[in-house]
């Protein structure tokens, strides 16, 4: 590679590099600095350790992981048949179904979450229906189930797309061959579809897990003050209590926990081979 092209390439990238350098890398570094040195005198992990050993944050962290994990598992289970069905239908139906699954991703998370708020709230649509037929109103908002339901709905499209991409690639001839060799349909799915779709399952699961674990608007609207998650606590500390160092510390913990889990899962799944999960 000659130096002229290298220079041309770097020149093209320079504006973006300068921008991200000043407005992304420096701020993130500054935030790290604030968490490691809240008073500006010497660096230590004291604040991070305080956050990690606080029973309240421990509960919130465990809840964040639990909710994200359940959301991910439910998403995989309910999206898988949809992705399978996409193989079976013609191109017109295929794009119609995909549009239904994916286009909600392009409306605001706030709007999609509010739709669940008006359905589930104390005097919401569902409770109006319950009382209409003589049932007592049920408490459906500000419980963990509501947050999980909302997160599944909000991030579902990513799961379908990830599964579909890998299931679509499976060679139809494999099924014909398996059928010729006498494999039942169940066995074909178990031994062809399932193993070959695992990369898609992994991509979708990691994506939904990461997005759920760092979600703010959905847990805050559907979980209220009772069902808080780590991203909500970052906001509470930063904006409500104006405690930026502690907010920074929580967000670092959040980031490290997510990164560690993603690293571990990809390590295990790829047998030590790292792979970029964001397409």
């Amino acid at each position: 590679m000659d130096r002229a092209t290298t220079r041309a390439a770097w020149l093209l990238c320079l504006p973006m590099l300068v921008f991200l350098g000043i407005f992304f890398v420096v701020p993130v570094g500054q935030m790290l600095g604030l968490a490691l040195s809240p008073k500006g005198e010497g660096y230590s992990f004291d604040l991070i350790i305080t956050v990690v050993s606080d029973p309240f944050y421990q509960r919130v962290a465990i809840r964040t992981l639990r909710i994200s994990l359940i959301t991910t598992v439910i998403s995989v289970i309910i999206a898988y048949p949809v992705a399978l069905h996409l193989r079976n239908v013609g191109p017109r139906w295929q794009s119609a179904i995909i549009l239904v699954m994916v286009s909600p991703l392009l409306t605001s998370v706030v709007v999609r979450t509010l739709a669940w708020v008006v359905l589930l709230s104390q005097r919401g649509i569902l409770n109006q229906a319950f009382t209409g037929v003589g049932l007592p109103p049920m408490r459906m908002l500000y419980v963990e189930g509501a947050v999980i339901l909302g997160l599944v709905h909000v991030f579902f499209g990513y799961m379908v797309v990830s599964l579909m991409t890998s299931i679509r690639k499976i060679d139809e001839n494999l099924y014909t061959a398996a059928a010729n060799l006498g494999a039942s349909r169940w066995r074909q799915h178990l031994e062809i579809t399932l193993p070959l779709s695992l990369p898609g399952v992994l991509t979708g699961a990691l994506l939904v897990f990461i997005l759920s674990a760092s979600a703010y608007a959905t847990p805050s609207l559907l979980g209220g003050l009772r069902i808080s998650m780590l991203a909500v606590e970052v906001f509470n500390q930063a904006i409500t209590y104006f405690n930026w160092p502690e907010a920074a510390a929580i967000s670092i913990v959040l980031f490290v926990v997510i990164a560690a889990i993603v690293w571990l899962v990809t390590r295990v799944a790829e047998g030590g081979k790292r792979k970029v999960i964001f397409q």
């Binding site: 770097w10 990238c13 079976n88």
Partner: protein, 273 residues
């Protein structure tokens, strides 16, 4: 051969999930046209009173204008910065390319609340710029990864010899780019820009840290309003936002197909790819 039973069961399940996906949005639409004074389906008749109410709420109108202006500015800057980078990384293999790609994607790997908080801290430390400026900066960070990725993918099949040919025929670098390269990569750039616009317009995770009392974006205003008071008006605002996004979804769908954009397959239609 796909057994009929399988086709039937999977089809029924898919229909069920379609209802799950769209149902809440349909309910939102029904609530927005209720004649009642509280959140309910339009049992007592249909009325546009909540849309009328919405249009009289200056906070929502102001927030909507803020959001559109912000999204336009962020998209414009992101498209310029991102397209230049996308051209460099698809056309050349050079030392440092990996680092550049990593940095361009970095804002996607960091939780939104972290980016929001970091930019809040940064602007307070330098002491200049209000909510409008810090939101613009944040939204450029937010949209850049998408632009770089989508334009890169649409460039993947482009034959750079065409630009070289134009240069050999005496065109200036600018003219070769504007008349040869740009028209061919334009669909990718437009789809990327439309996507970036929606991402910016809809964002709440970063924006909630950066808005001010006098300068809010529409999703943040809606969020704040709904946390305080649930009236059918929030359904009207939601429907307005859904329709607005839908216009962009249709644009992207016409240009590429939404699922291709989200799956990062833009450009594979190109026979050269």
């Amino acid at each position: 051969m796909i057994p009929n039973a399988e086709r039937l069961i999977l089809g029924a399940w898919t229909a069920l999930i379609c209802v799950f996906m769209l149902g809440p949005l349909v309910v939102m639409f029904a609530i927005s046209v209720t004649a009642s004074g509280y959140i309910s389906l339009p049992y007592e008749g249909i009325s546009l009173r909540w849309y009328h109410d919405m249009l009289r709420q200056t906070v929502f109108i102001d927030a909507a204008i803020n959001s559109v202006v912000l999204a336009l500015q962020a998209t414009a800057i992101s498209v310029v910065l991102g397209t230049a980078t996308a051209i460099a990384v698809t056309r050349y293999r050079f030392p440092g390319r990996g680092i550049i790609l990593m940095l361009a994607g970095a804002p996607l790997f960091v939780p939104l609340v972290m980016t929001g908080l970091a930019i809040l801290i940064f602007f307070s430390a330098i002491g200049i710029g209000g909510p409008a400026e810090r939101l613009l900066v944040a939204h450029i960070c937010l949209t850049l990864p998408y632009i770089v990725r989508m334009v890169s993918v649409s460039l993947a099949g482009f034959d750079w010899n065409q630009e070289a040919a134009a240069l050999n025929l005496g065109a200036s670098r600018l003219r070769a780019f504007v008349e040869v390269t740009l028209p061919q990569i334009l669909p990718g750039v437009i789809a990327g820009a439309a996507f970036a616009f929606i991402i910016s317009f809809d964002d709440v995770g970063i924006s909630i840290f950066l808005t001010g009392a006098a300068y809010k974006t529409l999703p943040v205003e809606l969020y704040a309003f709904a946390a305080f008071d649930l009236t059918p008006m929030i359904a009207a605002v939601s429907v307005a936002m859904i329709l607005f996004s839908a216009a962009f979804v249709l644009l992207i769908e016409r240009l590429f197909g939404v699922q291709k954009v989200l799956a990062g397959e833009v450009g594979t239609k190109n026979p050269a790819a």
